[in-house]
Symmetry: D2
Subunit: 510 residues, 4 copies
């Protein structure tokens, strides 16, 4: 099956059974109009994919040697005798457990939540159905929700991203998990259905990543929403779908948009890309950064991160922008602001971070110098017009995983990374610490929605209250042995602030 999803979004409509296709086709079109730069949230999505070819992946997964029987056809029981799960191979649990334990060490905030939960169980009574990537980090989240009192049932939001060993470990410790790597479309929806369609159990909270779970319930079990207290959604795509539902007056429970919290945005974009641009380029090309001329298209958070990192490594960086304010920032940060045409003949690397389409055109590609590296850190696979390179006079040569040489008749080679898909998603990994911030935000959003007094949230899409955003940040400070200063009563009064925050007005830019 061809990989169609654009990497940076929730699972797209093609997974949908036929009877849902028409409607989604329309929605799909809607998505393409989406104007704003999308978050880097789905970095987590890269894990399984890149783990198969990455040096740094958690090594020796034995999928290839596995038997070919579909998990749906297997009879498996965990050691406690339960068979309420469907994973590739329950016997891989031990290996998965180790991965979970390693992840726990870098997810201090969730572990701190667990400790607090020894006294109170803020999710006691919660019945959460989840649909996310199933990785060691997700496992830490799920087990934290469990420790906080919740019952969970879980499916994968992507047919490739499940780490089978982790799924096995979760199943072994009693979580009804329905997911494996390499699901078919039919499997995908079957798994989701197994999560929600259970006798004697009905979810009262939804944790979704991409909106597929939410839509399944909308289509198949709309009555379930009567008992559901809220939806927590973290993907750009899923959030977009929710806003559309809300606009159409069809959203029947409160939903929390955790994609746009400050902490998450800054980590997923600025701080993470600052590191992953270097990582992605090195792993694919082994190039030296020093002295290289680079043009970065777009100076949003992602572009800022890429530029800062490359400048620090001794590259000479040019920036293109459409927005004069970001352009002025680029100037003040020491980057020459150019049009792509002005430098396209001289640069060694072209990086797109715009969220736009056709930023790098065939004409640009024709004018690049030999050995120029072209890659995308921005959004989906539209920024570089890769399709324009699929013409007969150009030869494609796959030289490494994720690395193609596109060769012109005169011998000129362009080095295209990840076929124009997201470089950091395809060719590097996401630090657990970043995922920890996302997972903690999800947990807090669930707690908030579940415990909110009636009336606080209506049938609308909400941002995480700033105070909780601050709380997520504060839970991650101990990792850095960072010590926060507390306001004195006198100072709090002077500033007109509550000593526990929130500390900034909503429009504060950080």
């Amino acid at each position: 099956m061809e990989e169609k999803w654009d990497g940076n979004e929730g699972t797209s409509a093609f997974h949908m059974p036929d009877w849902m296709q028409i409607q989604f086709a329309d929605q799909k079109q809607e998505f393409n109009k989406r104007p704003t730069k999308i978050g880097r949230r789905s970095l987590s999505r890269s894990i399984s994919q890149s783990s198969t070819d990455s040096y740094s992946s958690a090594a020796s997964y034995t999928d290839s040697s596995d038997d070919e029987t579909s998990p749906r056809d297997k009879q498996q029981k965990n050691s406690k005798g339960s068979s309420d799960f469907c994973v590739k191979n329950i016997k891989q649990a031990e290996f998965g457990r180790r991965e979970i334990e390693i992840a726990e060490q870098e997810m201090p905030a969730l572990m701190a939540l667990r400790k607090r939960a020894q006294g109170e169980k803020p999710l006691a009574g919660a019945k959460i159905v989840g649909c996310t990537h199933i990785t060691a980090q997700t496992a830490v989240l799920m087990e934290t929700l469990g420790a906080l009192g919740a019952q969970c049932r879980w499916a994968a939001c992507n047919i490739y991203s499940t780490l089978n060993e982790v799924a096995a470990a979760l199943a072994e410790s009693g979580f009804p998990v329905f997911a494996w790597k390499g699901e078919s479309e039919d499997d995908f929806w079957w798994c989701i259905d197994r999560c929600v369609n259970v006798e004697g159990w009905q979810p009262n909270m939804i944790l979704d990543d991409g909106g597929d779970l939410t839509h399944w319930i909308y289509k198949k079990y709309p009555n379930m929403f009567k008992k559901i207290k809220g939806i927590v959604e973290e993907s750009v795509t899923g959030v977009h779908r929710l806003y559309q539902l809300s606009k159409a007056g069809k959203l029947c429970v409160p939903a929390m948009n955790v994609n746009d919290s400050v902490t998450k945005q800054k980590f997923d974009n600025l701080y993470c890309c600052r590191e992953s641009i270097l990582d992605g380029l090195k792993r694919t090309t082994d190039m030296m950064f020093g002295g290289k001329q680079v043009v970065v298209c777009g100076y949003g958070e992602v572009g800022k991160g890429c530029c800062a990192a490359l400048k620090a490594m001794g590259s000479i960086v040019y920036v293109t922008e459409i927005d004069p304010i970001c352009a002025l920032q680029a100037c003040m940060d020491g980057f020459r602001l150019v049009k792509l045409n002005e430098v396209i003949r001289q640069v060694d690397i072209v990086i797109t971070c715009t969220g736009n389409k056709n930023v790098v055109t065939r004409e640009h590609l024709d004018r690049m110098k030999n050995s120029c590296i072209v890659c995308n850190m921005g959004h989906s696979n539209t920024e570089i017009d890769v399709a324009s390179l699929r013409t007969p006079e150009l030869t494609w040569e796959r030289v490494r995983s994720q690395v193609d040489h596109v060769i012109w008749p005169d011998g000129k080679r362009i080095v295209l990374l990840a076929e124009g898909r997201l470089l950091n998603l395809s060719c590097s990994t996401v630090p657990t610490f970043v995922l920890s911030i996302t997972a903690t935000t999800q947990a807090l959003a669930l707690i908030e929605l579940y415990n909110a007094p009636e009336g606080r949230y209506k049938q609308d899409v909400y941002l995480l209250p700033k105070k909780m955003d601050e709380y997520v940040a504060s839970l991650h400070l101990p990792t850095f042995d960072a010590h926060l200063t507390e306001l004195t009563d006198e100072q709090a009064k002077y500033l007109g602030l509550n000593k526990n925050g929130p500390f900034k007005p909503n429009y504060y830019r950080y």
Copy 2:
């Protein structure tokens, strides 16, 4: 007369005539409660002050040798025979003209506006009364407003900040200017009154900096507001006053808050402080930055600028914060987050950037090591508890202008800069380029308010429309020979944007 204003705000109530005192005393109290960090706008205010002792000041002003006659008592005429002005000495016009010409070279945006005005006069018919610092940069603004079609009358918003030569040059070229350096309180209000109380001329626009002009008209000539189309205010204090009026239902014309535009904020805080912290410390102490241990209190825009600069110069920087999100940013940017107590014994420099009060207490000062430098980049003079150092056992020694040694009984010396007032305001200068951004924003706000169709703006306080903020930025790009990329029609459609902006949603953080 004692200097009472805290440097970072508009002229305070003490200038007011008696009959206004009571009411303002109340307002003053209000100001002190103001919770948010104030902008750095009033940096411009520093110019006259620091120019008297700064190496870099515009040199040979001859005030000291001037005669002592009050300008109010002099009979002066400019070369065209007009005497509708009151300045120190009209003969200084030539020197002032040169300063204005130099400033013009670094205010490209205003000069660009003038060029565009050759065809259309967007301020034709505008009668602007202004009350700002009177410097070469202001002169460029005023002459630009003139070129755009406006008539102007002007007073100074600060009794010390007027550059007499510039005022003379403006008077010489026909601007009714009423201002000199060293006005008395009575002079101050007399000058303002001379601007507005004119036979046969009534203002229809107000450009204010601190709110004094606005208040004078409110108190003395409330009927004038019938013809006034709007107020443009740039100071934190003035904006605060406007919001209070608005809240109280007393604001009777639209007002534009230009203090909070993106471009202005970033320049006045992040970019400007990144340079002025180094400048201020060098000019006062000649210290070497390399290897020095520094603690920066507060990691907002100002703190971020200070930290980045000092780190780049080889200092080891610690940060204190109350807000966990800013704290996490400090961590990710490579600064150890500490409580002040943890490092107070070891640091060489303490810099406050909090907007808070008593951040550095006597207890902290007692524990600092010998030769520790203490200064404030934040807000007003409250951050360091300087008052606590006025005790008999401590000896104060003024070693240079703006530099005091405070000496403990055991011989320990603390180096206190600018007596805890703003370092950048007191001990460095503000680049014309920064002032250019402010002035351009003011000009555009005037044009917008003056030309807005009825009903677009009500009797409320408005932020500059994002599109105009972007326009200000775009006018400054040519300085950097920066070339903006234009969206294609197809791209604009894809992004759902107008090709001319605005390019970002209002909540975008830059």
Copy 3:
């Protein structure tokens, strides 16, 4: 066979046949006393090794599926009918050729030398026997030497590092190459012997990497030295051996030490490590650098590179040093200078770059916090006392290739990378550009020695003349589109310099 060589040096004595062992055992001891920090030259050595597990390796080498017949037992001919070579599989030539072509694109200096050689053949008549790593970059060097007029015969200096496809490509195009990946000790010496022991052909130049070829000739064919014009040696170990020979009065031809040229040192250490520390840490641990506390032991060129990179990525870096001058540099560059004990409990990463032994002791390891990462960028595998961790109470867990968790009885885990061997050698790759500088230096040294008038070089070890060092640098400038300024006659006279260099005195520090 156990891997014994320490990675950073030439092939060690264990390859030697028995009859040479005793003598070398003594020498070996000598090597261990070697006081100075060794160069990073042998980074190239890492290629074959790391390429087997690295994501970024040149992919799909099919060695594993190859037959098990020893190349020595195969009958192979290239397409021109020659069988004067011995490689794994001549049929892999095409794949190897492509790798060579890719390498050519990043070795502009050698390609420039080839162009110049179209007119003159500075190596006409040269018969070069070489013993180096056999990689695509070496192939570019060999083919350049050929283009310059030389005849070459080549063996591998390391039993693991040969890229079989590249060796095949060289054999196919007519180079007598004797090398394959996975030679036995006997194979190793057999290959070297096949290079020199040829009827009707006698070498007149030696290019060595580690000194094994030189020693083989010394032992077996001492008479050959009568015709040999010189030796070019690039490894620390080989250079050390040459100095010993010289000291003992046994060096009978001039030798050129290319290890200590400025360009090579700066690239192999400062610039390369600045990038490879990030790369090595990311590929092994996927960690986030931002906010991490790191201690770097040693502030020589390698330490300087590591510190600069980590600081730029937002880490908080401490430095330890024994030399007060380097220590003062660390201070001025903004790093706190500490003893390891002071920070060992708090740091997240420990990196050694000292060239010393037991810099990180068991005591230090006992005190590290959970999850602390420990690695070595310095010299051989002595810096971290890894042996001390092989005790029964500690559990070792191999979690990924090159990554071990060492687990204390209380559950604390230390993450040990590459078992304390060189991180950049084991876990990252070396940019072709760095190898280009080394190869160009080797080529120029060969040309210089071959063409030097009699008497210019005696039977001693020489450094590359500064002018040639400058020439190597100048050949690499076009890569960066860098334009050198030429002195005018008047300026050259003023400075007392030749317009073509050398430009600096020998003691200049760069």
Copy 4:
């Protein structure tokens, strides 16, 4: 009297009495041929000069109000009744003492030497005659020499640089000082003579800065050298003179060149210029660095410092170089290497750091854009062809101290700083910490020469032994609370080093 010395060198021959002129004229010519970049040592020389117009100078010296009587005609006694001195006004001693005390706080190494001297007096019996700038820092050095057991007599090496208050303080505490600000040529030599021509006292050590004292003794009292144990000289000029004497076989005592020690070189050039380029530009022009395009001519230590600082402040920096090795370093550090012509039309600032002449020609100046700033950080005043700007069609306008506008007929203005003389010398100050390193080096060199066993030093010019260079560095580490690691016996043996150093071979590049 016109100021002729070029700022960066010792006092030139014009001070010499007539009978010495001819010979020195020749030498002078020699100096001009001097090919190598000269050190920044004489930064200290700038103090008096810049102190007159610098904001940061030690304030309120009252020279101007002083009487006009020549100090040579005054009868002055210190409080102990001695009149063996000649200063401007002994009554200024108290003010000078405070300056000395302040300087002591930043000269920890000298203070540490004093402490050690409480037990032993390594300079007991030393009779030192000195000729240096007389500043607070020199005073700390002199009083340290006294504490170490030496008797001192002192004159100024520059007719402008003496701080009268400091001279008074030294005289008051018993040092025979002969110096004041504004000496005539005759005064200059009279003062030197008063130092050496004393009944009953003959010097046995010389501390010189520029070589004038040494030459005076050579010419007038050659017999004195019989008792003199050595000369310590720190200036480029003085060192050059000594090498000439040595070459001519006329040097009759050992001499120590302290100008070329590592610590001194790195501080005077790289670290100091990194800060002073920013300081010098800000104080003269108040410009903003962010976004500015800058070309730095020369990438030696000074150029490296300038480039690093400006890049860190957000400038876009281009570099020109003649040496391909330095050029390659510039590339790897992230600067585009260009010829001056390529960027001269577009840059905002031109900075020369070459040690060469006519690097910026009239042709370049003609092509610069309006408002371009031109300055020199390199050597003397030859780098910018300022003379070429003295043509009738150009108008010079002095806009501030050290700032000239040169105006072309079409109105274009170039901003020329310090008339092309050294910017850091003319427009910024030198941190005491840098002077501390120089002074400590001088003190140690005196101790070494004075105590060296006969035969260790011959009649030649020596560099400071590396071990003492390391010692100077170690004495400055406590300032940074820096803790050096000590080698274990085992490690020292492994490295073949003495535990106390020296730690590096002489050719080590740091």
